[in-house]
Structure formats: structure tokens, C-alpha cells
């Protein structure tokens, strides 16, 4: 079975608040999945369960392992970055690498040192002496030196400037990712990761509202620039959203075929963020 992660009817309650509602999802090997949702939608709750940091109801298996029961075993095969600022402040870079080497069977210290030679980080630096961006580089260097089957990134670039963010994803894609690995990313800056994703999952109020690969999205959602003269005709096809730019209407359609849509105006692939906004609004109206 090539499924890295399977979830069946996963539920999580905090008191009366239902953080996850019947989540069903399968993620297979070699994918880069964007987990996208508004604040408080349950992204972090889902990831916590996946990483064995919290319990949940239902059937959840990561690499065939129950994450909460056997977190230590699972962590030999997966790794995660929860937030850039979480490396312990008091530790020296050298000590951090040494500790990771001693505790992780799949960590290559020479690889990590090689990554660090490309940065300004020195082995005798303490983490608290590093800037936010350098801390992220250090964390990424450690994570990329772990031969893991699944990498989970929860808002990995939060608080970083745009140069670091771009470099972060470039490094990830060029030096780390191959078809044997799988990555799950959550972020609010969807535009920045859109081009590297193979799949997207939208989550809203604890429910999965969309689980599709990027090709499917491109084939079923279209963004069309409609002129004033085609307005009435376009409206008849019930666009999901519409906005007016420079006297033209940009409409988003969900359609099984491109043929009819093309007659209305210039067709583009919608951005994930536009689609996200559209689907979230659709749910509101429903």
C-alpha cells in the first residue's frame, strides 16, 4: 500500500467544541500536499493528531503506525517543523547536531554540516544569537538531513522576510524532495507554495471541504474574463464568484468541460487562493 497517511472518521473534541468532524483523507507517497484553511479551522489539530502530539477518535494511521500510541517509533520515519522559533534558545549549534545524531537513527550529521556551510551559521553559535531567518535555516538543515518518509511543515516560514521564505522553499524542493518522500504543508501564504503543490486539501470548521490534486483543479475550475456584452450569458452558468476589474468581470466557474466556458471570454487557471476564497464563500451561502 502506497498510502503514507490514512484517516477514517477522525474526530477530535475539546470539551464541547468539535475541532475535527469525520475527517477522511488518504495521502500517498511522492505528494506535496497543501493543507489550507482559515484560522481555527482545525489544521493544527489535525496535524497534532498526525504527529502523535494529541489523541483523537477514529482510525488514523501514519506509515501504518498509530501516532499517539507510538510517537517515538513514528518519529524515526517522519519529521516536522512546527514553527520556526521553537529551537531551544540555550543550545549551541554543535550540541544540537550532536544530540540529533545521538537520538535519531536516520540523521546524517555530515549532511547537516554541509547545508550549514552555505549559511552564515557557525558551529559555536547559540540558537539565541541567531536571527529568525537563520534559526529557520538551521531547523531546515537539520530536517533535510533526516532521511524521512514524511515531512510535515506547519507554518514553517511564519515571520520570515520574503527572501528567506523563497530560499526556504527553493532549498526544500531542490535539495530534499524526491518521489520517495512526501510533504504536508500548511501556510497562510498560499501563493508562495502554490506552484510546488501536487495536491490541495481545504479544511473548514473541522471538515474537509476539498481534497483534490492540482490537475483535477485545473480541469474543473476556470477563471474567465467576461466582457460586458457576455455578462448575462455568463451569469446564466452560475459562476461561483465574480469580481469587477477595469470594466471586465472575472468569474470563477466549476464546470466539467471547458468548451462552453471558452466562448464567454479569456480562460485562465484560477489561483489556489482565489479558489479557496470562492469555496469558503460558497459554504457560507449553503
Amino acid at each position: 500500500m502506497s498510502h503514507i497517511l490514512t484517516a477514517q472518521n477522525v474526530n477530535k473534541k475539546y470539551g464541547k467544541f468539535q475541532a475535527l468532524k469525520d475527517v477522511n483523507i488518504n495521502i500517498s507517497k511522492g505528494k506535496i500536499v497543501g493543507l489550507i484553511g482559515p484560522n481555527g479551522a482545525g489544521k493544527t489539530t489535525l496535524l497534532k493528531s498526525v504527529l502523535g502530539l494529541d489523541s483523537c477518535e477514529g482510525e488514523l494511521k501514519v506509515l501504518g503506525i498509530d501516532p499517539f500510541k507510538r510517537r517515538a517509533d513514528l518519529m524515526k520515519e517522519i519529521c516536522f517543523i512546527a514553527d520556526v522559533a521553537v529551537l531551544p534558545k540555550w543550545i549551541k549549534v554543535e550540541q544540537l547536531l550532536h544530540f540529533t545524531e545521538q537520538s535519531h537513527p536516520n540523521f546524517s550529521i555530515s549532511q547537516a554540516k554541509h547545508f550549514l556551510t552555505k549559511t552564515k551559521i557557525k558551529m559555536d553559535h547559540k540558537v539565541k544569537e541567531l536571527s529568525k531567518g537563520m534559526t529557520a535555516q538551521l531547523h531546515l538543515a537539520i530536517v533535510m538531513s533526516i532521511d524521512a518518509k514524511l515531512l510535515v511543515l506547519d507554518e514553517p516560514t511564519l515571520g520570515l522576510d520574503i527572501l528567506f521564505r523563497k530560499q526556504f522553499y527553493d532549498n526544500l524542493l531542490n535539495d530534499y524532495f524526491d518521489n520517495e518522500r512526501t510533504i504536508i504543508i500548511t501556510t497562510h501564504q498560499v501563493e508562495e507554495i502554490e506552484h510546488i503543490l501536487t495536491d490541495v486539501v481545504f479544511i473548514r470548521e473541522g471538515e474537509i471541504v476539498l481534497d483534490a490534486n492540482m490537475d483535477e483543479l485545473t480541469n474543473s475550475y476556470f477563471e474567465v474574463m467576461v466582457n460586458q456584452e457576455n455578462y448575462e450569458q455568463a451569469m446564466a452558468h452560475k459562476p461561483l464568484t465574480m469580481r469587477k476589474v477595469f470594466g471586465k468581470y472575472i468569474m470563477l466557474f466549476n464546470s466539467t468541460s471547458r468548451d462552453v466556458i471558452e466562448t464567454l471570454g479569456e480562460v485562465q487557471r484560477p489561483s489556489v487562493s482565489d479558489l479557496f476564497v470562492a469555496l469558503m464563500q460558497e459554504e457560507d451561502q449553503a
Partner: protein, 316 residues
């Protein structure tokens, strides 16, 4: 790869200041006070007695009875040892209070949990650090401090024309006095087990202030017990819980008295009353007391709870 050793090393790296520097600084203070004391006496002697008192004193030193010198040295070594025990307990107290809380507070717990280290290993590494690693460092620190102190004393003796080997070194009973300190560390660990367990649990469980929970919850239980007996059973003098806490604290802070029984009068340590050999026997005898087992059970339960809570508590 050696996860547990790395975990212990990690604790040492994080707390090197408290674990290593404290005993060495205390040792330096010992020698510095000795030098200051000598200089004061010398100045005083030069101004008041023209230097003849120290000369007279040095001359009479040779006639001193060696058993008197021996017991003076024993008292010094046991007394300083007792202070080291006390400071060791204070350091361990705050170390354990923070050990499962600080990483939740600064968020680094999520990094530690991203490594294949189980929560059981993590909690046990803190426990073993408190039980074994830090006492061993303190014992070595005390030995170094004693040796430096005796070297400084030898220099002072030499300056005044006294042979330090016959007067000082031949009268030092290293084995018994250092042995008493080491057995003291063992007794301290044994009696403090329930406190250590409670501190680890408070540290793992507490959301805001582990100190308040660790200190005030037992006190509230103590008051509850006291007033229950006072009001319901009219036993105004029954202080059960407070007495237990008090005795365990006394034995944990001054383990030299740990063999002396269970009334609060016998918790003051007086190094002049017992030789180090008697002290060792008394402490080992105290360890056969059955109440040690109650402490052991309490520690096992609280540590198991600390591990349980640690599994899902990732923030503060």
C-alpha cells in the same frame, strides 16, 4: 547512537552553570575566606603584638594532640559537606520544577518531540539527572574544593615554618568524610524521592506556575487534614500531613540527620556529636526504615503521572 546518554548530556549542557559552577564557586569561597581570615589575623597580630602571637602560636602547634586536630578537620569536612547537600537540594528543586515546564513555555518542546525520543525516556532522564548525575558532580566538586582548601592551608602553614604533612595531611580522614558525603547523597536521594516525583509531576502538569502548584497544593492538603481532625475529631494537635512533609524536607535537605528518627527535634545537624563513621552507619540504618517504601511508591505514581501528562501537554 545512544539516546539516554544524549538526554543526560542535554540536561548538563542546559544547566551547566547550576550543576558545575555552583560547587566550584562554593569551594572557591571556602578558600577565599580562609585567606582573608589569615590576612586579618596576621595584620592584627603585626599591629597589636608585633608578630609574636602567630610565632608563639606556631610554636605551640607542634605540641597539639593529633586527635584534636583530626576531629577539628572532621568537623570542618562534615560541616561543609552538609552545606553542599543543602545547596544540592535547592538546585535540584528548581531544576525539576522547570524541567518539564520551561520547554513548553518557550515552545521548544515541539522540536524535542520531533525526535524519536519517547516521553518516558525524557521524564526518566530528568529524574536520573537529579538522582545520580548532579550528586556525582557535587561530590567531585566538594572533593576538589576540600583539596584546594587544604593546599591553601598548607601554604599558610609553610609560611609560618610548620610542616603541613605532619600537622595537616596526616590527620585528614578522606575516606570516612568523603564517604559520609557520598552516603549522604544516597540517603538524600532515597528520602527525597517523593519530593522529586511530586516536582516532576507539578512541572509536567502545571499550566502557569509550577512553583505555586508544587508548594501550595501540599500545604492546602495539610491544612485540610488539620482542620478535618480539629473540627470533626476535636484533635487540635494532630498535624499529620505537615509533620510528614516537614520530616521528609528535613531529611532531604540535611541527609546527615536522616538516620536519627522521626521527631522534629532530631533534625538539626551537629557535626561535633558524631564521627563520620558513626554518621555513615546511622544514615544506612535509616535507609532500612519502611517509610522509605511509601516514598518510593509515591514517587513511582507521580512519575508515571508526569509521563502520562507529558504525552499530550505541549503548550502552557
Amino acid at each position: 547512537m545512544n539516546t539516554f546518554k544524549a538526554l543526560l548530556q542535554r540536561e548538563y549542557w542546559e544547566h551547566r552553570g547550576a550543576f558545575l559552577k555552583t560547587p566550584l564557586i562554593m569551594g572557591s569561597l571556602m578558600s577565599i575566606f580562609l585567606i582573608l581570615f589569615y590576612l586579618t589575623v596576621e595584620q592584627f597580630d603585626l599591629r597589636v603584638g608585633g608578630g609574636q602571637y602567630i610565632e608563639l602560636g606556631s610554636a605551640t602547634m607542634d605540641d597539639l594532640d593529633s586527635s584534636g586536630i583530626q576531629s577539628a578537620i572532621d568537623i570542618f569536612m562534615l560541616f561543609t559537606g552538609s552545606i553542599y547537600h543543602f545547596v544540592l537540594f535547592i538546585i535540584l528543586f528548581f531544576f525539576m520544577l522547570g524541567s518539564l515546564y520551561d520547554d513548553r513555555k518557550d515552545g521548544s518542546i515541539l522540536f524535542w518531540k520531533s525526535l524519536p525520543v519517547s516521553d518516558t525516556q525524557t521524564v526518566l532522564s530528568k529524574f536520573v539527572t537529579a538522582l545520580v548525575v548532579v550528586p556525582v558532580i557535587f561530590a567531585l566538586g566538594l572533593m576538589v574544593s576540600h583539596l584546594v582548601f587544604f593546599l591553601v592551608t598548607s601554604l599558610i602553614l609553610l609560611i609560618n615554618g610548620i610542616n603541613p604533612f605532619t600537622l595537616l595531611w596526616s590527620n585528614i580522614n578522606f575516606i570516612n568524610n568523603w564517604g559520609a558525603f557520598l552516603v549522604g547523597c544516597l540517603a538524600q536521594a532515597a528520602w527525597a524521592l517523593p519530593i522529586y516525583g511530586w516536582l516532576l509531576f507539578s512541572s509536567a502538569y502545571s499550566k502557569r506556575r509550577p512553583f505555586l502548584m508544587a508548594v501550595f497544593l501540599p500545604l492546602i492538603v495539610g491544612f485540610g487534614w488539620y482542620f478535618y481532625n480539629a473540627i470533626v475529631n476535636l484533635e487540635v494537635l494532630k498535624v499529620g500531613v505537615f509533620k510528614t512533609i516537614g520530616i521528609v524536607m528535613a531529611k532531604a535537605t540535611t541527609p546527615f540527620t536522616s538516620g536519627m528518627g522521626f521527631d522534629l527535634e532530631s533534625v538539626d545537624f551537629d557535626p561535633t556529636k558524631q564521627t563520620s563513621g558513626e554518621l555513615i552507619r546511622s544514615m544506612l540504618n535509616g535507609l532500612t526504615n519502611p517509610s522509605i517504601y511509601y516514598g518510593l511508591i509515591f514517587a513511582a505514581v507521580t512519575i508515571a503521572l508526569a509521563i502520562y501528562v507529558r504525552r499530550f501537554r505541549n503548550t502552557t
